[in-house]
């Protein structure tokens, strides 16, 4: 019987009511007294030298209040990279300054080099156009292709970086010689060159920011579309603008999706704050979708060569990869971690492979910055591995199911330390593989294939067995890996005098449903109704210093901090109960919302204890403080390691090259499940994005650095009729061993595991259909690419 409340129940989402009635409050929905409007002036060329910014005419246009240029921010700091990566030779990465507004040079189409503030949006827009028309920017040759960027030292994105390389990273450098030797001696080596296509995150709510300044106190307030208000505050305060942290409040209200793109601090946030101070009026900016395409951090964009060395029976001996990773024109905050520690450390996959070496060269180009997008590095690792494994199976005539089964780490091997530096705590990869096979009725595939063939379609089946490291946290680990911040999280549980509870969490919900799930956990632990618990998030003035939501960390890190704070509440409640019931603290039990003296019928309800905490008329104050409020900062011992097996079935129309997803099955191990409905929804969304990457989405810059796919007319987002119903199972559960909730995180799984399953299925269909010359098709596997591959 499924639970109807508390941990493990599919409680309906309380936040839905406001979203379904139009009462959500997203940043652009706020209307502030006296507000004015900012519009950015963006480069129309990919690379150019700024000779003059034409502000004079714009400044005199109707309604214009201020025009800002790069010059105005030349003295303030740059937007920093959050991770310091060292090259193989030990030298630190090249870290060019990322200014608030471009100064000296523009480095990608959409690079903002000026901003206009006016009374109305239309006036600001008109004046921004005037600045653009009147500015003199000498176009320089655009650096778009990564290989050319590295090979052509004369043409530089940043003048001080001769080869356009940010770093040349080896992981683990000490493994290299052994890996090379193992590959040389191996009976079989499969090589695959592939592209992990660049994606535009496209959260449906475009970025928006409102700056306010209060001259009476000198306080600033930034309302912004952020996944992590404290991190944004830290970056603006300490690095960019030099505002004391306690004078800057950052609020992220309802946020319409993030997927990584709203982790980062962007220059517009500093512009609206500076303008608000100068004008002493609220200054608002909202991106148009076209601006989002040009200026949000993009995702993926790797070019990789992977080699898999194995025995003739498919037993893995070694993986070796060489990757060029595009960071775009500037280092966005997580951009140096994504292709390295979120990618290279996962390159053993779920496999017991003894030798792994990863090389990543990260390259500056005249394109928008590239950073973490749902999955971040782990989809790239998974795609490389799962594609090369499939290719090897075809080369050696081996069964892809059996080869994976043979190489998967087995249940008895945990904890398992990989050759790329991670210690997987727990898992059962055979179980999820078996589950996926059962769900997919693999035995019945031949009949389905025949049915497809009767319709003139080629049917194929593709498998991906994936793992990820998430719950992005342990400060000690990320510190070793180059992080400049800690990645713990925090929660405060405040029991109010009348027994209701406010939970202030460092997590930020932008679609994940924290307001519901977190309340389920607290209510369950305290034995009270979910409706008594309110979750507060997204405001630095209200919540403890937490690090926000990304990397599937909300539950596994922030949620655990909250659970630990609840434990402290219970411990304090026992002290209070001992006092009230005149018993020893050690004799107090807490169950079903009641504090009782063990073995007696003496008890106090949770409400009575809460009330007493705030009406402490007779407290022994030397040993018992009034109040019932606790904070916990939680820094885990390790990442968490969700894993699973995905099976995709496609039908390919060989005449047109069109691919249809016939079925998609997911067998995941997320550890313990707090709300099954929400977990399923997270997997659906991730798989939808993964299918988008595999079949539809392509970000195309031409040789001049113009983004040719800059709107929803040119960039193919997955739509309702591009995807099927998905079958999702999470019954294989090996609880995380190092957090008390036993949870692993589920937000990114779908986007990580699905793309190779789709592409493997397409290749399988082509092979079964007699087109066995096709060994790989790069994503997106569009009709024209499939058709060309068949006929090529």
């Amino acid at each position: 019987m499924p639970k109807d409340h508390g941990i493990g129940a599919s409680s309906k989402r309380r936040e839905d009511v406001r979203f379904l009635t139009g009462k959500g409050v997203y940043t652009d929905d706020l209307a502030l007294h006296g507000e004015v409007h900012a519009v950015m002036v963006r480069s129309t060329v990919a690379h150019g030298s700024i000779k003059a910014v034409g502000t004079a005419r714009a400044a005199g246009m109707p309604g214009v209040l201020a025009v800002f240029t790069g010059e105005d921010f030349a003295a303030v700091g740059g937007n920093p990279a959050g991770w310091l990566i060292n090259s193989r030779d030990g030298t630190p990465m090249r870290e060019p300054k990322r200014p608030v507004l471009a100064h000296g040079k523009v480095r990608h189409v959409g690079d903002a080099y000026a901003a206009v503030v006016a009374e109305t949006y239309e006036q600001a827009r008109d004046a921004a156009q005037a600045v653009s028309d009147d500015s003199e920017i000498t176009e320089l040759p655009a650096i778009v292709d990564m290989a050319a960027a590295v090979a052509n030292p004369g043409n530089r994105v940043h003048d001080e970086i001769p080869d356009n390389l940010c770093f040349d990273w080896g992981w683990i450098e000490d493994n290299r010689a052994a890996v090379d030797a193992a590959i040389k001696a191996a009976p079989h080596v499969t090589t695959l060159e592939l592209v992990n296509n660049r994606l535009v995150p496209n959260a449906m709510e475009p970025r928006a920011s409102i700056g306010e300044y209060f001259p009476g106190t000198g306080d600033y307030k930034l309302t912004t579309t952020s996944q992590n208000p404290h991190l944004t505050r830290l970056l603006i305060a300490a690095f960019v603008m030099g505002i004391p942290e306690n004078k800057l409040q950052v609020v992220a209200p309802d946020v319409g999706g993030g997927f990584g793109s709203k982790i980062y601090h962007y220059g517009e946030e500093a512009v609206v704050l500076a303008a608000a101070k100068k004008l002493a009026r609220p200054v608002r900016w909202t991106a148009e979708r076209s601006e989002s395409f040009l200026s949000d951090a993009h995702g993926r964009d790797h070019v990789t060569k992977i080699e898999l060395a194995c025995e003739k029976d498919g037993t893995f001996i070694a993986f070796r990869t060489e990757t060029l990773a595009n960071v775009g024109a500037y280092l966005s905050n997580f951009s140096t971690a994504t292709p390295t520690f979120l990618h290279g450390t996962l390159m053993a996959g779920p496999y017991k492979v003894p030798n792994v070496y990863v090389n990543v060269k990260t390259v500056f180009t005249n394109t928008a910055p590239v950073d973490a997008y749902r999955g971040a590095g782990r989809p790239e690792a998974t795609f490389s591995l799962e594609r090369v494994v499939d290719k090897m199976c075809r080369e050696l005539g081996l069964d892809p199911f059996e080869v994976r089964r043979k190489n998967l780490i087995t249940k008895d091997m945990f904890p398992y330390t990989t050759p790329v530096g991670l210690a997987y705590d727990t898992g059962d990869y055979q179980a999820t593989l078996d589950k996926a096979i059962a769900m997919a009725d693999v035995a019945g595939f031949e009949a389905r294939r025949a049915a497809s063939a009767a319709k003139g379609k080629l049917r194929g089946m593709g498998l991906s067995t994936w793992i990820e490291a998430c719950g992005i946290a342990p400060s000690h680990l990320v510190g070793v890996l180059g992080s400049r911040v800690g990645l713990y999280d925090a929660a405060t549980v405040r029991v109010n005098a009348t027994g209701s509870i406010s939970v202030m969490t460092g997590a930020h919900s932008h679609g994940q449903g924290h307001e519901t799930v977190f309340a389920q956990i607290v209510a369950d632990k305290l034995g009270i109704p979910e409706s008594s618990v309110e979750i507060v998030h997204g405001d630095t003035a209200k919540i403890p210093f937490g690090m926000g939501s990304y990397g599937s960390r909300s539950l596994a890190v922030c949620g655990v901090a909250m659970a630990k704070a609840v434990d402290k509440i219970i411990a304090k409640g026992k002290k209070i109960a001992a006092h009230m019931l005149e018993a020893a603290e050690g004799d107090i039990t807490f169950e079903d919302g009641k504090f009782a003296v063990a073995g007696t019928d003496k008890a106090k309800t949770f409400g009575e204890i809460a009330f007493s905490a705030y009406v402490p008329h007779n407290y022994p104050l030397e040993t018992l403080e009034p109040g019932l409020e606790e904070t916990s900062f939680y820094d885990p011992a390790n990442f968490t390691y969700p894993a699973g097996a995905y099976l995709c079935e496609v039908e390919v129309d060989a005449e047109t090259g069109k691919v249809d997803i016939a079925a998609f099955r997911c067998a995941d191990d997320f550890g313990n499940i707090m709300n099954p409905m929400i977990v399923e929804g997270q997997v659906h969304g991730g798989v939808g994005q993964g299918i988008g990457q595999a079949l539809l989405e392509n970000t195309h810059y031409d040789e001049n650095g113009q983004l040719l796919t800059g709107s929803f007319m040119d960039y193919a987002m997955p739509r309702a009729d591009d995807v099927p119903f998905y079958n999702v199972d999470y019954s294989c559960q090996t609880p995380c061993t190092h957090n008390p909730l036993g949870v692993k995180g589920c937000g990114e799984a779908g986007a990580i595991g699905s793309p190779p399953a789709v592409v493997n299925a397409v290749i399988d269909a082509l092979h079964r259909g007699g087109h066995s010359h096709v060994t790989h098709i790069d994503m997106p596997v569009s009709p024209s690419r499939v058709w060309s591959a068949i006929n090529g």
Binding site: V17, L20, A203, F712
Partner: protein, 161 residues
């Protein structure tokens, strides 16, 4: 600047707009009905769908003046008279048909228009009809399920898969 009047969610309203003011901007800024969302600038995403004289319309694709005299319904007008969720809204909550909520107003408005035209749509019909509404969060699974459930169809088989 021209004065424009229409009926929105059952109430007569009017305002002064420029010729270029879009219906979406009039609703959001003129009337403060911010449930209608703006997700794009090319009339592709459907976050802004409202009903104009009973038809689903992307409110970013017509001028406010074109809706003069019309009867407009927005997401704010979709709840029952007592404030409880309407049938489609309730189905979206019951079946987790929304995550961040940004596409949701448009999804609900489009779904309502679909069900008015076609009270028992098949899965394929729902997917086809919602082709003009982009959702980045849900992978559409639960949206399609919610719309079919709102039409009175049994979706337990989908849930059990």
């Amino acid at each position: 600047m021209t004065k424009v009047s229409m009926t929105v969610n059952g109430k007569p309203v009017s305002g002064v707009v420029e010729g270029r003011t879009l219906l979406s901007a009039f609703l959001r800024e003129g009337l403060g009905l911010t449930g209608t969302h703006i997700g794009c600038d090319t009339s592709q995403c459907g976050a802004c769908v409202v009903h104009v004289d009973g038809r689903a319309v992307k409110s970013c694709s017509i001028f406010a003046q074109e809706a003069a005299g019309a009867t407009v319904t927005t997401i704010e007008g979709m709840a029952n008279a007592d404030g409880s969720l309407g049938a489609i809204q309730q189905a979206f909550q019951d079946h987790h048909g929304l995550q961040c909520g940004f596409c949701t107003p448009g999804m609900v408005m489009s779904s309502a228009a679909l069900l008015a035209e076609n009270p028992k749509p098949s899965e394929a019909e729902v997917r086809h009809y919602l082709e003009g509404n982009i959702c980045r969060c849900t992978g559409y699974h639960n949206i399609v399920k919610a719309v079919m459930a709102a039409s009175g169809q049994d979706v337990s088989a989908v849930a059990a898969e």
